[in-house]
Every structure is written in structure tokens, then in C-alpha cells.
């Protein structure tokens, strides 16, 4: 029913459609399906309608029009929104209303996008199934008994369920790509530093990166163009001009050197996933790409490094939730120390507490060298693997996740098994390089399978071009979940 953002803009221009009409349609859709999908924590109906009015006025000659003007999008509830509650999926932030917008949100608003609501997520982005939200469980629109992936599960599900055109998620170890794969949509994690982290609630500061989740590759390119760019409020923000990511999309893959890292094709992969990815590789070959076998020898250490580095940073990032300045406080009148402990014990869920303890342990006296420091050294080796491999290839193809979406509750009792859902996405997060997931097939049960394309630092354009070539030559992205 809906095409690309570009096509919607065409319909706006032709007066076949207004932003208000489109926004109302999505609000109705949310009313119809979100009780069963659970993709939203907050639906900003009034603000969205107002923003759509403004967008329509803009399009009627009242101001500058961008590619996103009038387009209804959602954002993960990890982004601070001025005047709108922001929970990060946690009880401890219940009632928190930020007095500022995240830079990503500000850029969306300035571009004239209509922010329709805020998506459910694993608490503090810690999880791969969105089961760790303190508020609700999001269901996979393709099969409501399954998880949508995580932690940006609400974002991916909202796009897959047709509740908005696109969403902005965040990715620390795969949290955009893995849910995109699970929900049969496109998810792009840009180069670390490309999109501002200001106002995006921190999980692991050296890894967190925002990016678009969309129905197609062109939309991802449009959104990235809007949200990327230098932010003086962030010291790790890249100060380089943002290219027009849509410009080179049609360039094809002829002559492109496509690396296949042997370490990603291991025993644990589901057979159907393996076949689908192999077919994708063949597609690239058929289109004239050069397939190169490459090696990323430290891949097997990535999950270990990630669960030390990310939890260490998280243990510190989450220290600010103490019940003093915002959010929930539990005070039974037994002093400050008890107030801290009770506030945090009741405010955080089990997974968050587990990771805080793991990270605290990894940084604590006597263990720092063996864990945090060692992990940071191995991280350097992982990064070096990519640097060397990108001398031989321009992009890499891998599965996004070892399996399609799993059943709700299937992995909740065993954290380690859950952590292994991210084995194919974590390395590129540790190296800070861009990667996209896009649909490359379905299992016999009708569940989407994701193909991951990894690119070199700041080379989002090539990643998007390759993804677009694949998308154009296949029809997976046109299938819609039936709800």
C-alpha cells in the first residue's frame, strides 16, 4: 500500500495525500494493531497531529521542505523528547519528562517529520528480544508468539506492522540490525560518531549508535541523511559533511569486492539462514561482484569482549539513576544508603542488574586488568582484523543473526544463550563500523531472515548501494506481515 518516502513526497506534492491524512491513518493503525503488537510505550497523538498540520502548512508554501517533511516516524523510547515522557523501558525512569530533545529528535523535528510515538525496548537497551521492557512485551508482527528481536524491538515491530513509515533505533551490539532481521525490515547502524548521541540515553557509550529502521533501503538512506552530522554537544561526533546517501544508490555492485568472512559461517547457524545468505552471496556474484574469502580471526572473542566493555560502561552510565533528581525513588525512611539501594533494586529489572554487577566486577580492584583492560586490547585486535580485511574487500556479507525470531520466553532463563543471538553483529559494533541488515528470505515457518552487509569506517554509501542493489533484484522486502 505504501511506497518509499520518496514516493510519498511525490503524492504530497500532487495533493493526493496530506501529512495529516497519513498521520491519522497511522494513528488508526496503531489503535487497531498495537494492543497485539505492543510496539509503543507512548503514542503522541496530539503532538503528531499538530506536527502534521505544521508539515502540511510547510508544504503549502510556509517553509522549507525536506525529504522527511510530513512523514510519520517513531523513535525508540531511549531518545529524550522535550515534554514527552522518556522511560528507556525502565521503571526507574517512570514519569521522567526531559526538558530537552535528543539531537536526533531535534533534527527530525526540524526536518518536519511527524513523531508519532515512542517505541518499546529492552530496558536500557539491554537485551535481544524486547522481553526486558518494564512496560510490555513487544510481539513479532510475523508471528505474535515470537519476539521481535531487540533491543529496538518496538521500533522494528512498529515498521513491520505498518504503524509508521520508519523508526529510529539504537544499536550497541546489534540492537538495530538483529530486530530488523527478526521483523523483515531494513536496519542500519552507522559508523560510531556519525549520528549524535546527545540526548540518547547511554547504555555503553563507546558502542551506542543511532540509526534508521525502515521498509526499504532508500528510506534508510533518506533518514540517515537527516539524522547524521556533526553535533558540538558531543565530543565523539564526527565533524565531516554528510553526503547525499540516496545519490549513489543505483550504482550497482559490478566490480565491488565482497568479502565473505569464514568465521561467520559456523556450525551454530540455522540451515535455512545459511541457505538464504548463500543465495544472497550468489546474487552478488551474478551481478558482477567479486567474491573474496576473507578472515576475521578474532571473531570468536567478540561476544566476550562486548560483555565486558559494554557492561563496564553501563555499570557507570547507570549510576546516575539514584532517585535524587528524576525518576522513581523508594525511601522507607531508613537513610540515604537504603534509599539508594531500594530505589535501584526496585527500579531496575533483572537483566539490567545482572549487567551492572558484571560490569562493576570487571572494573573492580584486582580484576580491571584481567577483564576491562584485556578486553580493550582484544577489541584493538578485532578492529585490526577489519582494517586488514578491508584492504581486500569493500563490503562484507554475513548473516545478521544465527536464527530467525525465537519464541517468547525461549531464552529468558539463560542469559548467555540470549547473548549469543548477537554474535554476528557485535564485532562491527566493537570496531565502530557501519552495517545494515535487510531481508534475504523466509524460513519455512514464514519468518524473515536477515542479511548483514558490513562496510568500512564512514562508508555508509557503499553499504547502502550494495543493499539497494540486492533489494532491487529481490522481492523479500515487498512481503508484509499479516496482522
Amino acid at each position: 500500500m505504501l511506497g518509499t518516502i520518496e514516493e510519498l513526497q511525490e503524492r504530497f506534492r500532487n495533493r493526493e495525500l496530506t501529512s495529516k491524512g497519513l498521520t491519522e491513518a497511522f494513528l488508526r493503525r496503531i489503535d487497531e494493531v498495537d494492543d497485539s503488537v505492543g510496539a509503543f510505550i507512548t503514542v503522541s497523538k496530539d503532538e503528531a497531529l499538530e506536527a502534521s498540520d505544521t508539515a502540511d502548512n510547510r508544504m503549502n508554501g510556509d517553509g522549507e521542505i525536506t525529504s522527511l517533511t510530513g512523514i510519520p516516524v517513531s523513535v525508540k523510547d531511549i531518545f529524550c523528547t522535550k515534554g514527552t515522557p522518556t522511560t528507556c523501558g525502565s521503571r526507574i525512569l517512570e514519569g521522567f519528562v526531559p526538558p530537552y530533545d535528543a539531537t536526533v529528535v531535534r533534527k527530525l523535528k526540524e526536518a518536519g517529520a511527524v513523531i508519532i510515538g515512542k517505541n518499546n525496548m529492552d530496558e536500557f537497551a539491554m537485551g535481544s528480544s524486547t522481553e526486558n521492557s518494564a512496560y510490555k512485551k513487544t510481539k513479532n508482527p510475523w508471528d505474535l508468539t515470537r519476539v521481535p528481536g531487540g533491543s529496538s524491538g518496538g521500533s522494528a515491530a512498529s515498521v513491520a506492522a505498518g504503524e509508521c513509515i520508519a523508526s529510529i533505533g539504537t544499536d550497541t551490539g546489534g540492537s538495530i540490525r538483529q530486530p530488523a532481521a527478526c521483523c523483515g525490515v531494513v536496519g542500519l547502524k552507522p559508523t560510531y560518531g556519525r549520528v549524535s548521541r546527545y540526548g540518547m540515553i547511554a547504555f555503553a557509550s563507546s558502542l551506542d549508535q543511532a540509526g534508521p529502521i525502515t521498509r526499504n533501503v532508500r528510506d534508510a538512506a533518506e533518514l540517515l541523511g537527516v539524522i547524521a552530522g556533526f553535533d558540538p554537544r558531543e565530543s565523539t561526533s564526527i565533524d565531516l559533511p554528510v553526503p547525499d546517501y540516496t545519490a549513489g544508490l543505483g550504482g550497482g555492485v559490478k566490480g565491488l569486492r565482497v568479502g565473505i568472512p569464514g568465521e561467520y559461517f559456523i556450525d551454530g547457524i540455522d540451515g535455512e539462514v545459511s541457505t538464504a545468505v548463500q543465495n544472497a552471496i550468489n546474487f552478488f556474484k551474478d551481478q558482477g561482484a567479486e567474491i573474496v574469502d576473507i578472515s576475521l580471526p578474532h571473531t570468536e572473542y567478540a561476544v566476550s569482549v562486548y560483555y565486558i566493555v559494554a557492561t563496564a560502561e553501563a555499570s557507570s552510565n547507570l549510576a546516575r539513576y539514584d532517585g535524587v533528581r528524576y525518576g522513581q525513588r523508594v525511601d522507607d525512611g531508613d537513610g540515604l544508603l537504603e534509599m539508594y539501594k531500594k530505589t535501584r533494586d526496585r527500579g531496575f529489572g533483572a537483566e539490567v542488574k545482572r549487567r551492572i554487577m558484571l560490569g562493576t566486577y570487571a572494573l573492580s580492584s584486582g580484576y580491571y586488568d584481567a577483564y576491562y583492560k584485556k578486553a580493550s586490547q582484544v577489541r584493538a585486535l578485532i578492529k585490526r582484523d577489519f582494517d586488514l580485511a578491508f584492504k581486500e574487500c569493500d563490503i562484507m556479507l554475513t548473516p545478521t543473526a544465527p536464527t530467525a525470531a525465537f519464541k517468547i520466553g525461549e531464552k529468558t532463563s539463560d542469559p548467555l544463550t540470549m547473548y549469543l543471538s548477537d554474535i554476528f553483529t557485535i564485532s562491527s559494533s566493537l570496531a565502530g563500523i557501519p552495517a545494515i541488515s535487510l531481508p534475504c528470505g523466509f524460513t519455512t515457518e514464514g519468518l524473515p531472515i536477515g542479511l548483514q552487509i558490513i562496510g568500512n569506517t564512514l562508508d555508509e554509501a557503499t553499504v547502502l548501494r550494495a543493499a539497494h542493489a540486492y533489494e532491487t533484484g529481490t522481492e523479500w522486502h515487498q512481503k508484509r506481515a499479516k496482522l
Binding site: L93, P98, Y198, I201, T236, V324, R325, L363
Partner: protein, 479 residues
């Protein structure tokens, strides 16, 4: 047995920047609670730090002023602990790789110069303030004010080179003088912009290894530093003599009772879990930035003192006093430039001016008599319009009323009498009132000259020109 104290100081200096270390909030002291805060310094979710360039420059200047090595790359680290005055649950500081290392500070104690090593100078953010409930209703509560949070600090850590309380005090004073000289801090101890912790241990004379040390927190005056360290040295020696073991602990100086008190019972085991701050890239200081700052560095007290001795021919003590504060030295040099007499200017400033300022505990910057006004006064004395003695009264009046020397002299009718006729008359009266003394003088008791001069001055209410009086007296008595 004889014991030798081993002392090291950690000095925290608030830098005098306009805005905070990692956000744009004002650093002004004395504003209403939580009125100089923003999402960044409140530690709200998702916010990020961006480093203040001027704070870095100030820290580098302190490094240069102490002959230290400036590291071209240094690393910010998070120091993790929970306290309500620390909004993020961590303090951004520097740990393994500080900005400045390996410097020194020369101090003077008992006319001897001693070099105290500086281990490191690192940058960090200040914490907020807790106010405690004053009324019965509020007794169970504390009130958190985060205005001070994120104000830039440098921490200057000395080597354990200090051996006496006097040296500690001299070192602290020297650090204080330099930061104020450099203009990087207001050095105000009452407002907490200059704070000191001391590490103290004792060991038998001749022993190589250090004894167990205790740390005293927040001894924030030059006197308290001396008193607290003296007390702690005695306490430790006494404890060792009594066969006790010194416990490594934090102690608090109770200035009311003049003792240090253990804080051990309230301390839990600290584990700050330092790690590199992922929200800030390593701090890069280029050679160009360092050399620019080197060029902009003002003349420091030690160098200035040497120059004052040579250029103005001042005794070392006077040069030391005049260079102890940069505004005072500037005042002096301005006066010398205007009045053209280094010795006279020094006499006035060291004498009347500092006496009056000290009486009121006023700083030279608030002095109501500026260099121009003082020069005018000096000029009037030189011309003979008033005597030096009258000049002192005039100065005091200028200081009180902020009037010019000429106005004061005119108003009070203090112009020096240089009229021969008028003075002759006065002298004649003095001589005829004291016939005995005149007789004795003529009999050879020439030291009575002073008596006659004094009497004449008295008769002219101090306004007589002393030179002229002398001359006339000699004529009249010698005749």
C-alpha cells in the same frame, strides 16, 4: 628516639573560567541553589560532556609555572562512587595519564630555599554542595545544590618532600601565590576555591621507608595546615612511642578543639573503579598551544622578586613583600613609573599603605588611594609643600575620604609654612619661652637643636618647613 615527619599535600584549585568544565553553565559563586545548572551538569539521561578549552589552558599554565612536563596526550577517566552531590555517580577526572607531571615548587623557610617536587597536576570536575536541615522539621534531610557541580578544578599533588609544618604552609602559600599570579584562580579559601588535603606520616630519623600515613581532608587555611599537621605529627609519634600501630585512614581537622579526629568509622571500603571516560577523546595539547601559553605567562613571583632587587635596589625582604601578590607588585611598579623614585615609593607602600590595608583586611585591589593619587602626594612632599610627617596624616585622610592630596591639604590648611617672617616670629617666641635651654645650647649642648626644632614645629602645628626652621634656628642661636 627522634622522628622525622614526611608530608605530602594535595591541593585542589578551582579555575576561574566563565563557564563550567563540561557545559556552558556559569561558575559564578553565590547564586541561588540550582540556578546555574543544565541537563549536562545535572547528570540527566543521555547528556554528554564537552571540554572547556580555557580550563585546559589554565591547567597547562600551572604546569609551565611549576616547571612540569606537559603531556601532549592525556586521558580523562571516570571515578565511580555514589554521593548525592555527584549527579552522574562518577566524577570525570584524570587517573593513569594526567595532563601535567614532574614539576616542582621552590619555597623559602628560615631564609633557605627548598625544592618540593610536584608529582602531577590533573584536571577534574568539582562536586555539588549539601546543605543540611536547619529547622527541627528539616533535621532529617539534606538539600542538594548542584551549582558547583562541574566547575573546573586542578589537583596539584606534591611529592612527599615536605618535612615540617612550616614547609607545608610555605608550600601551600607558594602554590596559592602562583595560581593567583597566573590569574587562573581567585584562590579564595572561604569560598572553597582553594582547598588542601595533607598526607602525614613519621619515621625514625635515618629510616628509609615511609611510615603509615594518614590523610587529613579539607584543611582550608594556611594556619590550619600548620596546626593540623603539627598535631598529627605529635599524635603519631606519641602513638608509636606507646607501642600503637598507625592506621591508614582519613582524619578530620577539628579547628575548634585543635585536634584531628578519625573518620574511619564512617568510611566504607572505596573502590573507585576508574576507567577511561568513553564520552571524551584523549585530551590533545599541541606544542603550538604550549608555546603560545608559555609566551603569555606572566612574570612569576620568584623572578619578579629578583628583578625588584636588581632594578629598584630594594632589600630582599621588601622585594619579597612587594612581589607577594601580583596587584601589589603592579601597584608598586606603576607608582615608581609615575613618581620616579623606587625607594620612596617602596617606603610609602610598605609603610602607610599596607598598614592601613592590613588593619581592615583589605586587598590592594580595593585600595582607595591609587598610584596616581599617591604620586601626587609624594610630589607635594618633594616640592616642600608639606612635610613628610604631615604627608602621613594627609595619606590617612586620602585613604578615608578618597580625596586627592591637594584637596586634603587645602581643606585642612596643612600647607607647609615656608615664609621666613612667619617662622622667624615663631622661633623668637620659642627661644624667649626657653631661656635656660638657650643658655645651655650656647654653652655647647648642641643636641638641644632637636628640642628647638620640635618646639617650633609644635608652635606651627607641624606645618613649618623643617629645613627652613633648622636654618633659621642656626642663624639665631649661632649668632
Amino acid at each position: 628516639m627522634n622522628y622525622e615527619p614526611v608530608i605530602g599535600l594535595e591541593v585542589h584549585v578551582q579555575l576561574k573560567t566563565e563557564s563550567k568544565l563540561f557545559c556552558g553553565c556559569s561558575t559564578k559563586y553565590g547564586a541561588g541553589p540550582n540556578s546555574q545548572v543544565c541537563p549536562v551538569c545535572l547528570g540527566m539521561p543521555g547528556v554528554l560532556p564537552v571540554l572547556n578549552r580555557r580550563a585546559v589552558e589554565y591547567a597547562v599554565m600551572m604546569g609551565l609555572a611549576t616547571g612540569s612536563r606537559i603531556n601532549h596526550e592525556s586521558v580523562f577517566a571516570r571515578k565511580n562512587y555514589f554521593y548525592p552531590d555527584l549527579p552522574k555517580g562518577y566524577q570525570i577526572s584524570q587517573y593513569e595519564e594526567p595532563l601535567v607531571e614532574d614539576g616542582h615548587m621552590d619555597i623559602e623557610v628560615d631564609a633557605a630555599t627548598k625544592r618540593i617536587g610536584i608529582t602531577r597536576i590533573h584536571m577534574e570536575e568539582d562536586a555539588g554542595k549539601l546543605n543540611h536541615g536547619a529547622t527541627a522539621e528539616e533535621a532529617g534531610s539534606s538539600f542538594v545544590d548542584l551549582n558547583r557541580t562541574c566547575v573546573p578544578l586542578i589537583e596539584i599533588v606534591s611529592e612527599p618532600d615536605i618535612r615540617t609544618p612550616d614547609e607545608a604552609s610555605a608550600y601551600l602559600k607558594a602554590i596559592h601565590d602562583i595560581v593567583v599570579y597566573l590569574g587562573i584562580s581567585d584562590g579564595n579559601m572561604d569560598e572553597g576555591s582553594f582547598r588542601c588535603d595533607a598526607n602525614v606520616s613519621v619515621r625514625p630519623v635515618g629510616q628509609e621507608e615511609f611510615g603509615t600515613r594518614t590523610e587529613m581532608k579539607n584543611i582550608n587555611s594556611f594556619k590550619f595546615v600548620k596546626d593540623a599537621i603539627s598535631y598529627e605529627i605529635d599524635r603519631q609519634i606519641e602513638a608509636i612511642e606507646d607501642g600503637e600501630k598507625i592506621v591508614q585512614e582519613t582524619r578530620l581537622w577539628d579547628s575548634q578543639r585543635g585536634v584531628t579526629v578519625s573518620m574511619r568509622s564512617k568510611e566504607e571500603a572505596h573502590d573507585y573503579r576508574y576507567f577511561p571516560e568513553p564520552d571524551l577523546m584523549p585530551l590533545v595539547v599541541t606544542e603550538e598551544m604550549i608555546s603560545d601559553l608559555k609566551d603569555s605567562l606572566p612574570e612569576l613571583p620568584a623572578a619578579k622578586k629578583v628583578r625588584f632587587i636588581e632594578e629598584y635596589n630594594l632589600p630582599p625582604y621588601d622585594a619579597g613583600v612587594l612581589t607577594s601578590e601580583r596587584p601589589l607588585a603592579d601597584y608598586y611598579e606603576e607608582t615608581v613609573k609615575l613618581a620616579g623614585d623606587a625607594k620612596v615609593a617602596s617606603n610609602w607602600i610598605m609603610g602607610e599603605l599596607l598598614r592601613l590595608l592590613n588593619e581592615e583586611n583589605r586587598s590592594i585591589e580595593d585600595c582607595p588611594v591609587g598610584p596616581e593619587a599617591l604620586t601626587e602626594l609624594i610630589g607635594m612632599i618633594k616640592k616642600g609643600a608639606i612635610s613628610n610627617k604631615v604627608g602621613k596624616d594627609v595619606f590617612e585622610e586620602m585613604y578615608k575620604s578618597k580625596k586627592s592630596a591637594e584637596a586634603v591639604v587645602k581643606e585642612k590648611g596643612l600647607t607647609q609654612i615656608s615664609d621666613t617672617g612667619e617662622l622667624s616670629g615663631a622661633i623668637d617666641k620659642v627661644l624667649s619661652a626657653n631661656p635656660d635651654e638657650v643658655e645651655r645650647f650656647r654653652g655647647g649642648e648642641t643636641k638641644l637643636m632637636g628640642f628647638f626644632v620640635g618646639q617650633t614645629m609644635k608652635a606651627t602645628r607641624g606645618q613649618g618647613n623643617p629645613g627652613l626652621i633648622n636654618k633659621l634656628l642656626k642663624e639665631k642661636l649661632g649668632g
